[in-house]
Symmetry: C2
Subunit: 232 residues, 2 copies
DNA sequence: CTTTGTGAACGGATTCACAGCT
DNA sequence: AGCTGTGAATCCGTTCACAAAG
């Protein structure tokens, strides 16, 4: 009776949440190979983390392992899918059908992993009415209707930076409450809306930082504008 | 003389490094508007972080601000570009010219921000010889030659997961020492190679976790396979 | 008086190491 | 004996708050 009416909502740390999808992927692979159980050690290796972290992370979901044995793959898969909200598909809308939006609309990985693209919207009359991957591009003014019909809770922004905030506002007005932003700009959203961002150029800039420290170990301030000398 | 021959390599925390590109973006915007200086407060707001963090982060680069005034925009831009290794362009190779690779090859943001795409490689004979954005797709066997000619240090992997590790190995053998991986798989690379990953579906799965907690506040274990009920 | 730069306090995440269960 | 689950220790990053500088 200790845990009666109210389901205890365990507080899962953000860092753990962002690793759960990695574990899920590894588990799917293992399940495919027919392995019935898996140790934290092996799961860690497959997911690119260390074993202690895996155990701690999984312990936030509950005590689903068996000491001396490991974790039951199917059971853990089920629990993890449930926790991640992946027991049903999430329909997604993509706004901005330029290069990137186009590619995202064609990307099979979304559908495969439970995020079918239900709708595409743009503001440019030249692309409206065209189809990408069998999905017609609608005008962004139709977003409220489209979102309601398809029960869309998750939106992807692939517009130019200049349009992104406006598009985000309209998505939110249309009932979208989770947004993945690819536009290179900071968005502000109300606290009840989840926002994640992926900035492709930023990733390269971060790599550049470390790369630079490798190749330019012992130069002083001297900044050369021309190409770096070839490595031996 | 305390800081003589050896340039003191300040140890910049990873978290800070990953924010520098955001500051850089904000600074470019501010410079464009002709503002001569900027306060940590304003820079923070534009970059979506808080002011104390901005000051701490910038302090790792050096004491480039003026108390009572703020930071000189141009000077800070210069220092930050230098620190990030963005005083020259970095030529990039993309491996895997499917949907995603195609889009990345067309993405103008890379070139604009100092990462021109110098080469494209794939293994599929059907795409080899075609051009994307004016760049010919070469066979991956030519990677060593291509990488050497263009002095490529940074590679992007946009292949299917099954090919990614092999491609990474070949890139590294060809002298690439920073990799951005879009394939949904864990790569192992030697410690001197920098690796970052972007998994598009994982981002959506993380959003799904939080989204699920919003819409499914008070159900117990009861997992329904059909669509969620409409709000209100 | 304004705003930086930074020690100090705090909090979250990772790792350690071992008790507890099978 | 083998492996999980978890307190305790540690590390890293964030925030606070104020002295120092203009």
């Amino acid at each position: 009776m200790a845990n009666g009416g109210k389901r205890q909502a365990r507080k899962i740390p953000e860092a753990t949440v962002s690793r759960l999808p990695l574990y899920l992927r590894s588990l799917l692979e293992v399940a495919n190979d027919g392995m019935p159980t898996i140790s934290s050690e092996r799961l860690a290796e497959m997911s690119g983390v260390n074993a202690a972290k895996v155990r701690k992370d999984l312990s936030y979901l509950g005590s689903y392992g068996t000491r001396g044995v490991g974790y039951d793959v199917e059971y853990l898969l089920f629990q993890m899918s449930r926790e991640l909200g992946l027991t049903h598909d999430w329909h997604v809308v993509i706004a901005g059908i330029g290069n990137l939006g186009h590619a995202l609309a064609n990307y099979a990985g979304f559908h495969e992993r439970g995020f079918p693209i239900a709708a595409l919207v743009d503001a440019d009359p030249r692309v409206i009415g065209t189809e990408v991957n069998g999905i017609p591009v609608r005008h962004i003014d139709e977003l409220p209707a489209v979102a309601a019909i398809h029960q869309i809770a998750i939106g992807i922004i692939a517009t130019p930076a200049s349009a992104a905030q406006e598009v985000a506002d309209r998505m939110i007005a249309a009932g979208v409450s989770s947004i993945l932003n690819f536009a290179p700009t900071i968005l502000s959203v109300p606290p009840d809306v989840s926002l994640r961002k992926v900035d492709l150029a930023v990733e390269l800039q971060i790599l550049s930082f470390y790369q630079q420290r490798k190749t330019a170990t012992d130069r002083v301030a001297h900044v050369a504008a021309d190409a770096a000398p070839p490595a031996t």
